[in-house]
């Protein structure tokens, strides 16, 4: 795609009220032609354009300060330019991002922009017309600028294939025209005017698309089950309750390209025969909810949602349901209960939601990323999608690459890629060039991928086989300083708190497992604890109704499987090899190296350090809370952690 952003729909700009006297929205052909014309008009704009990454993460990294600096500089140099906000392009490590497009010139992207840098970029590039090759990260789009690499040639982008993220960071998420100009709503138009629901299901089946929310159930098959159920009333739900800590792809898609989710949802609704849809979005994502609300209003205004879409018999309305903070509501039957206004507790299946779901009617639930992939599949053809991936896991998958990695970010790669490529080529390797220890995949339901599996092709089957799961695609990289027992304890404390309490093995079993892990990390573990964790873990998995309990022990089981020696060090030697579990740590000051600089002494929260200016400091073990502040602050490596 052309990959250029144009500014958002302006009030009264091309609105149906302006173009048509009647309340009737324009036909799709007219709408598309106008969107393309607007797109070209903005591409050919004679004003400089400054594009800022304003997703939640961009703002957190300081995009607001950059925007203020840009406005100030433009005023200072007396230049007129359009400032546009886009979603996240995925190179989160380089936030805040600032792109400059000069009339007739390629789009140059600058990363890690500070307010001072922004001023320099405005002065030299916007006013002076000279791209700053030393500061620029890449050229976005097909063009080239001497001395600056192309975006798609960056190591972080080279092996990516963007499907669900195809528009993120490239189009203005608040502009329906930019979406339409980039093939938006074309799939919905084709589906409603040319295809039967069976044909739509057939194409999705042929593409091999599997649910991106975790379990990887074939999407076309899921639609078919619901399609075959009799009855006039059915419901289509988008699962945007991205609860896995460490995953943020759904947020990025909702913030960066909300219309694609609406389009995917409408196509799915047509396939199963629903006229009412819900988007269940977690309340922790206020920006995503705001963008969705605006996108729905806009789509309704243009007749892309609502009654008789494109003049056909198909009507579809979407409501947003805000989650209220319960991890288990990501589970289908729990989500249905929550939409109905009840405690979000899962129930036994059958009946499956396809038979009896929301308000007892046939219901299909698909994840955000799955739905975002659907329009691309229907535009480019199922074969295009199926050409990516492995035999049983087709297409591309987004991963939220985080943890101890140099270039954290949101990536979308063809399945079958190895973890080594993801960590070292795309992620740039481990922070401080430390040793890769494991990657945690699939959040609290997942497990660890050890270093021995770095060259294993990533797909649904392989990950399950080694005891991890694909899950929603959170990929947290851990190095030698990460304690695997502590990681297991962390996940257990999460699932234990989030267990809804319905199934006894989950409610009490996770509590027992957590207590055992806490004991181990405090140095009070017994050698037999490890086997009792394994035994209990299997019981919790077997005795729980839903996926929360069914997968809750995974982080423990997989860390024991690959890092049993680390558990043994905790229970037998009462030692934490990674130096994380505080009760097992001991801090002292090396008198040879201590210069008596007072930094640790002044900052010790427990006042456990004595000494004076140029007098060697000592730590009182009785007072020491083992917080590690002295270890972090000492510039002379004089604090020894053991």
């Amino acid at each position: 795609m052309a990959g250029l952003a144009i500014s958002g729909d302006r009030p009264g700009h091309m609105g149906p009220a302006n173009t048509m006297a009647a309340a009737q929205p324009p036909t799709f052909g007219v709408l598309k032609a106008k969107s393309l014309a607007l797109w070209e008009q903005l591409r050919a704009s004679q004003k400089p354009r400054i594009i800022l990454g304003m997703g939640t993460c961009g703002i957190a990294a300081g995009a607001n300060h950059v925007e203020a600096a840009v406005r100030e500089s433009l005023a200072k140099y007396g230049v007129d330019a359009d400032i546009e906000a886009v979603g996240c392009i995925g190179t989160c490590y380089a936030e805040p991002l600032m792109d400059v497009v000069m009339p007739g010139q390629p789009r140059v992207s600058y990363g890690s922009v500070t307010p001072e840098m922004a001023d320099k970029i405005v002065r030299d590039h916007v006013v002076g017309g000279q791209p700053l090759a030393d500061l620029a990260m890449a050229v976005v789009g097909g063009d080239t600028v001497h001395g600056i690499p192309r975006f798609q040639d960056l190591a972080v982008m080279r092996s990516q294939r963007r499907v669900a993220l195809r528009h993120c960071g490239l189009i203005d998420p608040t502009s329906i025209h930019q979406y339409i100009a980039n093939d938006g709503y074309s799939a919905l138009h084709r589906v409603l005017t040319q295809l039967t629901p069976e044909q739509v299901i057939g194409e999705v089946k042929r593409s091999g698309l599997r649910g991106r929310g975790g379990a990887g159930f074939p999407t076309g098959l899921k639609w078919e089950f619901c399609h075959k159920e009799p009855g006039p009333t059915k419901y289509m739900i988008c699962n945007a309750d991205e609860g896995d800590p460490g995953a943020f792809m759904d947020r990025s898609v909702l913030e960066g390209d909300p219309h694609t989710v609406l389009e995917g949802l409408a196509i799915a609704a047509y396939a199963i025969g629903a006229s009412q849809g819900y988007i269940y979005c977690r309340a922790e994502y206020p920006l995503a909810i705001l963008r969705l609300k605006k996108a729905i209003a806009r789509a309704e205004e243009y007749g892309l949602l609502g009654d008789h879409i494109f003049g056909t018999d198909f009507s579809f309305h979407i409501k947003i349901k805000e989650g209220a903070g319960a991890f288990v509501c990501g589970e289908e039957t729990a989500m249905i209960a929550s939409i109905e206004g009840k405690r979000g507790m899962p129930r036994s299946r059958p009946p499956f939601p396809a038979q009896s779901g929301l308000w007892g009617k046939p219901t299909t639930i698909n994840n955000v990323e799955t739905l975002a992939s659907v329009p691309a599949i229907l535009v480019n053809g199922p074969e295009w999608y199926a050409a990516m991936g492995t035999e049983k896991s087709k297409g591309a998958k987004t991963f939220a690459l985080t943890g101890k990695i140099k270039q954290p970010g949101l990536i979308e790669v063809p399945l079958g890629i190895t973890l080594r490529e993801v960590v070292y080529d795309i992620g740039g390797g481990i922070v401080g060039d430390k040793r890769f220890k494991a990657a945690q995949s699939g959040g609290p339901s997942g497990g660890c991928i050890p270093a021995s599996a770095l060259d294993l092709p990533i797909d649904f089957e392989n990950l399950t086989r080694i005891g991890a799961i694909m899950g929603s695609g959170g990929l947290v990289v851990m190095d030698e300083d990460t304690c695997m027992v502590d990681v297991a304890r962390f996940f257990l404390s999460f699932v234990q708190a989030e267990s809804c309490g319905k199934c006894t093995p989950c409610r009490l079993g996770t509590k027992q497992m957590l207590d055992t892990l806490v004991r181990i990390t405090e140095g009070k573990g017994e050698p037999e604890d490890i086997d009792s964790l394994l035994e209990l873990g299997e019981a919790v998995k077997a005795g729980s109704l839903c996926a929360l309990g069914g997968t809750a022990p995974n982080p423990v089981l997989s860390t024991i499987r690959y890092f049993r020696a680390e558990y043994e060090a905790h229970v037998v030697d009462k030692r934490c090899p990674a130096g994380v579990c505080r009760p097992l740590l001991h801090f002292e000051i090396d008198p040879e190296k201590c210069t008596g600089c007072m930094v640790c002494l002044r900052n010790c929260p427990s006042e456990a350090i004595s000494g004076g200016k140029r007098v060697v400091h000592t730590i009182d073990p009785a007072k020491c809370s083992k917080c590690g502040t002295c270890y972090e602050l000492c510039k002379f490596d004089a604090v020894i952690k053991s």
């Binding site: 460490g246 209220a324 949101l410 959040g443 962390f490």
Partner: protein, 175 residues
């Protein structure tokens, strides 16, 4: 209710790091919510959005409002209580003026979120789940913000701060 007769804040339960115990305020003013309820007449699935709207207005769920909601939806107050205690979002005591949330998600955890939380607890002199005595700040620990690439992260009011160190967190709070 504590001895000076104002608040009854639930004690922080260490075994439930992500959830707070919830008890009603025993003494409080009447909370009129008729205008919020009216649009939901005859709609199903209204309970959770109503609770969210009431909490948005008052910052918490006053007991009298919970009773009105129950009457409106023809539920027993205990059913409403059952739902509101299930979800982490709902609170039965007023929050402080500003809420500080420290993320304890996976990515933040491996990048030292625990130390950040301890630092914030010590600066504000309040434990996670509590509110400062002057009712200026509430401190919460949350599971994930989805800003993992900037870990560790905290949110003060509605501003997100990323790539934190203990020193940076202290500085942000001072501002």
């Amino acid at each position: 209710m504590d001895s000076d007769g104002v608040w009854a804040e639930a004690p922080h339960a260490t075994s439930l790091p992500f959830r707070r115990k919830k008890v009603f305020l025993l003494q409080e003013t009447v909370a009129p919510i008729d205008d919020l309820l009216a649009p939901w007449t005859g709609q199903h699935g209204a309970l959770i959005p109503i609770l969210q709207q009431v909490q948005e207005r008052y910052g918490y769920l006053p007991g009298s409002a919970v009773e009105q909601i129950a009457r409106f939806l023809k539920l027993s107050p205990s059913e409403v209580y059952g739902v509101l205690t299930f979800y982490a979002q709902f609170r039965l005591t007023p929050p402080g003026e500003t809420t500080v949330k420290v993320c304890q998600g996976t990515a933040c955890h491996v990048r030292g979120a625990k130390r950040i939380l301890e630092e914030v607890e010590s600066v504000l002199n309040v434990k996670a789940g509590g509110t400062t005595e002057d009712r200026k700040y509430s401190l919460e620990r949350i599971a994930c913000f989805g800003a993992c690439s900037l870990a560790p992260v905290m949110v003060i009011g509605s501003s997100v701060y990323g790539r934190l160190t203990t020193q940076k967190a202290r500085k942000m709070l001072k501002q």
